[in-house]
Amino acid sequence: MSLIVHSIGPACTVQDQGRPGYLDQGLSRSGAADLLALHEGAALLGQRPSCAALEMAGFGGSFEAVGAVNIALTGAPMQASIDGAQVAWNASHMLTNGQVLTIGAARQGTYGYLHIAGGIDAPLMLGARATHLTANIGRAVTPGDMLPASGGKAAGGYKIASTDRFTGGSLRVIASAQTGLFSAATLERLEHTMFHRGARANRMGMQLDMDGPGFAAEGQLNILSEVITPGDIQMTGSGNPFILLPECQTTGGYPRIATVIPCDLPRAAQAPGGAPLRLQFVTLEEALALQAAFEAELARLPTRPEPLVRDPHDISDLLSYQLVSGVVSATDQGE
């Protein structure tokens, strides 16, 4: 059971929840830019959210099934079809041997995810399967690659309601170690500025553009290089905020004005080019409550999938379908 890659977009990588524990060696965690999408796919296939999936930046590809393969599609909604027939996003589907899954451009958002039942069995490196391009761990997926499954047994045919996070919006931020380097007036202006996601964006970080002057720390042009965490908003020389994402460096010398809280990072990473974004300060207590609610919802996700009901008009060969078959559970904890 696997998928053969026939064609693929330029920035598609295998990702899981990343590789914690190596910050002291200068290696950032990496992992899916939209962790919620990783959990949604796992819920659809009834498997652990630690399973690796294919992250597709902006554009997918075409994938041929070798044997029967159950897949799920989550994250940025993309055009998707199986042997030319359109299929639903935020849903799981079964591919039979030889069928071709075609995934086109993102209709909204940036990162779409293709999950395979059992998870993609990419090599474990330092305890994770996540590609880290800047660290030379793994590489972008290319035509001719095989995406082997780890042998899951889920059935296709489920859908899951997805949180809208694909058009930008408001990102909650908290003060961080270097926020005090910026004046109160600068921080207030930050909160009242309408930003747009800039063209410079990848898994390391994303630039925010705005009308009006840039944002600068007071006095200290030469600050000592200090620890970075994903979500940090650093101010580069141009004064444009830059939100750091899973493949960011572990330390850096640009001053950081605030940090996007973890539960809002999927919304940040998914904002497509030009999407409007605002930054809104919350207190540490508010942020912790928001994060706790987000983690509780992640824990409930396995109960969320519902059967994908097809409109009989779309089914040309209704009579050939076996309409009642074995009962399957979408929450079965497959490997």
Partner: protein, 249 residues
Amino acid sequence: MTHADAFPLIRPLGLDGLLVSFADTMSEPANRAALAFRAALLSDLPEGVLETSTSLTSAYLRFDPLVLPHAALQSWLGQLLATQDWYAAPLPAGRRLWRVPTVYGTDLAPQLEEAAALAGLSPQDAVERLSASRVRVLTIGFAPGQPYLGSLGPEFNIPRQQELTPMVPAGALILAISQFVLFSGPAPTGWRHVGQTAFRCFRPERKHSFALAAGDEMIFEAVSPEAFAAIDDRDAGSNGGARVEAIRA
């Protein structure tokens, strides 16, 4: 308020991190404090701490704030800070000394002469001083496994070059402001390429992927281009012909 009064300083870094800073400018005592404090953390980590690291002058803890509240960790860190003068603390046990064969100058490291001139030294004098310098891994960062090493003498506090060097190879020994950086992979740099080693800081395909730890010490011993060419790393235990020994406390 002077900075001296403010340190050590515990600050949140993101929703799940605390940073214990010993200074906001690089100094030997502040780096020593960060390394010693992190070693003390590692010997007695509270439940809920997920990982730790150091920068040049800070120790960092990532933790699960839903398991271990900020206030509880902050108070625990405050108590640990009060137990001793961390700026005068002994460096952690278990550190190693690496002697790494290095070609200075030649076409392998073409900016040695330029750097020597900026330091007011003859190339021979510069090589003598650099190859005799025993430097400490102050921190690891920017690229996986890549050490910042110091401190070199004040004569090597030379400015950044105007232009970016488009690419130096892995193992390049780069001279920055009184520090060496030993590049872990090919990268552009604004600093000067004074030496070349065959040492690999990060080999993801190996069982022990990372060669160094913060606090280790290194000497970059001058060798001839011929001796350098003869370095044989086919043995899995070998790394750029380097010799390593434990540093006794």
